[in-house]
Symmetry: C2
Subunit: 223 residues, 2 copies
């Protein structure tokens, strides 16, 4: 890719200022991180102070959907007209162990989306968003579940955040030690980390012998 | 434990309002989550809008330490006198797959700490905090690394957040479906997730044959 094809930061607050070489403003990078992350950290401002809550999310095109109970205070704040939110998704790929304490780090991929969210009122969009939320955690799952009732739709608040003002930050590779530390004799390197599924645990209320479906059996992180 | 020994929420904003049965105000629960989590999501308010960044952390007693480059904007904001911050650590233990889309969830443990952070100026406390940050990601690691130089200490900003106004939220167990959905025939249950270390990747600059130390070889999530 030629230099002039490299995307620029969409706004001043998405501009990565520290470790600029780790910045990635390519929408594809941002989307891949949002898609792989199982949890999103939603930041809102309440009485002038920050509140950060973990929440499930799903991406559909250039929209990030978040949902929760209609009474969820942070989500209600986020749905308020004009309220600014920040949604951050982080994946930890490894622990970076340097010869010096100072150069310890983590290999990670994070995506940050800023903006004002809107409350999803249209029932078709709301149903599609809720299906996307189920598909996000387990692809192939939505077909094997009962769709939300009218009452369930009413008691769920869904907000939509445009993925416009967004950026990613990515660290990969070995530790970067000072040259004079190379001969210290300490081991240095990366301990890679992966999220691994265990044996599916059937609901005790499930009739004995109910087969574990393929979409559960074959679940893997999306990377 | 008798009912009157159950800790109460330390402040209105730490009071869990949705799914109160998942609230846990026991300092031991909060501390265990902070200790196991590899990454913390720090929320600050910049120009009236929330900013949420991922950062490494360490707990020492009733203090949560966060660090970064002296130029890190979010951290500098957090270090400002009187500025309120919110630090959230989330662990995803499993995907909760219900018969209905509505009852899909995740088994998780999250800890939220609110308050004003102070900039750590005392060099002894700063060095201890940086050692704790290394020990947090890999217990036993700090001894096998070069301690920070005066220059490295100067270029690092460490902030301390008291773990006073804190709460945890924990979901465990199988999905809770509506009784009328039990006979739908859909598989329901939990897919447990674990963070698993891969084969340590030595720094290419390491002399061949340098042994991988035990503290790396035996790394496991702290649970």
């Amino acid at each position: 890719m030629s230099d002039d094809a490299v995307p620029e930061a969409p706004s001043p607050r998405t501009t990565v200022r520290r470790k600029r070489d780790r910045a990635d403003y390519d929408p594809t990078t941002v989307e891949a991180i949002l898609d792989e992350g199982l949890v999103c950290h939603l930041g809102v401002v309440v009485d002038g102070a920050p509140v950060v809550i973990p929440t499930l999310h799903a991406r559909s095109g250039r929209t990030l959907y978040l949902h929760g109970a209609s009474g969820n205070a942070a989500l209600r704040t986020a749905a308020t007209d004009g309220a600014q939110v920040c949604a951050t998704v982080t994946l930890i790929d490894g622990l970076v162990l340097a010869r010096s304490a100072f150069h310890h780090s983590a290999n990670y991929r994070s995506a940050v989306v800023f903006g004002a969210a809107r409350k999803v009122e249209d029932s078709e969009e709301k149903e599609a968003a809720l299906a996307a939320l189920v598909e996000h955690i387990v692809p192939g799952r939505d077909e094997g579940t009962r769709a939300p009732s009218a009452e369930e739709l009413r008691s769920t608040l869904v907000i939509a955040l445009p993925i416009e003002e967004a950026s990613a930050k990515v660290r990969t590779g070995p530790p970067i030690d000072e040259p004079e530390d190379h001969d210290l004799g300490h081991w240095a390197g990366v301990l890679p980390l992966t999220v691994v599924p265990g044996e599916p645990q059937p609901d005790p209320l499930l009739p004995e012998g109910t087969a574990v479906p393929d979409h559960v059996r074959s679940w893997r992180p999306r990377r």
